[in-house]
């Protein structure tokens, strides 16, 4: 009977040890999984934000008004910084949530920026077309008017020269001039 009890005790102790080892092993696995998940979320957020930035940058270059997109970009960047900070501190759950917030803001931005860029490009090409048209008309007018103007000016100049009276000057003055 005593032998049986000690056997039970032994097996209980073994079982408890096994449970502790198993739980610590699983908790390590869980932490590693959490870390991986957070890292993936961070990578996704990072690339989504980078693409959004490029889209907004190109839209701005095309002449679009991107001030509303800038504030959204800054908000997403703030979430990403928080996510990175939380990750460094080992708060993987928090890092994951912050990265997802960043991703959610950033994912729609590239499309919005592209629409703005297309609008800006369209309006720019329209402006350029009208400006070039007005300039061409202006230059054509200038060319024609300048030809007429030159003929008029030339005639006026010749008339003025012909109206001039010859003046007799002394030999000294002639030598000096």
């Amino acid at each position: 009977m005593v032998l049986k009890l000690s056997n039970i005790k032994k097996s209980l102790v073994l079982l408890a040890t096994f449970a502790v080892v198993l739980s610590s092993y699983f908790s390590q696995i869980c932490v590693a999984a959490e870390k991986n998940e957070a890292q993936n979320a961070l990578n996704n957020a990072e690339s989504a934000l980078a693409s959004a930035y490029l889209a907004v940058f190109n839209a701005e270059k095309a002449g679009a008004n991107v001030s509303s997109l800038n504030s959204k970009l800054s908000m997403a960047a703030d979430w990403l910084a928080r996510a990175n900070n939380a990750f460094r501190l080992g708060n993987y759950d928090e890092a994951y949530n912050f990265a997802v917030n960043c991703f959610n803001i950033a994912k729609g931005l590239a499309d919005e920026a592209e629409i703005l860029m297309k609008e800006a490009q369209k309006s720019r090409s329209e402006k350029l077309f009208w400006s070039a048209t007005y300039s061409s008309i202006g230059i054509s007018f200038l060319f024609v008017l300048s030809l007429f103007g030159w003929r008029y000016l030339k005639r006026f100049y010749i008339k003025r020269v012909l109206k001039m009276k010859p003046e007799v000057i002394g030999e000294d003055e002639l030598r000096r001039s």
């Binding site: 980078a50 960047a77 703030d78 910084a81 460094r88 030339k154």
Partner: protein
Amino acid sequence: MSLDDLKLVYVIGCFMLGLIILSPTLAMVINLPSGERFTELWILGPEHMAENYPFNIVSGQTYNISLGIANHMGCLEYYAVYIKLRNQSEPLPNSTSGMPSSLEPLFEYRVFLGDGEVWEKRPLFFSFEFSFGDGFCNVSRLILDGYVKDVNKTVLWDAENKGYYLMLFFELWIYNSGDSSFHYHNRFVSLWLNFTRTF
């Protein structure tokens, strides 16, 4: 004035008038070079002035500064500020080679700024937890902007300057769309902190 001179003046006048007529179109097509492109990075003291920076640090006491960035790069830029802590033997960024410090950042800020825009983190609170040993100071924690980070840095007594010194510094990085990564922007600002005992 001879007829040739008059002709020359007339042609120049017409040419100038032509340029004036063309200028709106030319302005849309030609990109004139802009001025110098750069980024400002600064830290200011608690009164938002370049004075009274925290220096003598007491364990557990909170200090505040302001951290700012101004973009004069001519376009929208994506910046990251990495906050690092070093003792006197650890590396600083190298301004000559444009290399950042090899130390791991403790925290970071990220910000997008359009041309001419300014970002400022004001106030930026920080505090340290540390204890003293025989000839050394062990800085265990940095609490910055609500984040608590175990730093575990040992600072040895600086006999020359008579104190236990650590440098808190802020490196500015900029996103390069060419290779889709951040690059050190060759700018950093720093604060020397003297860790003192309270009696």
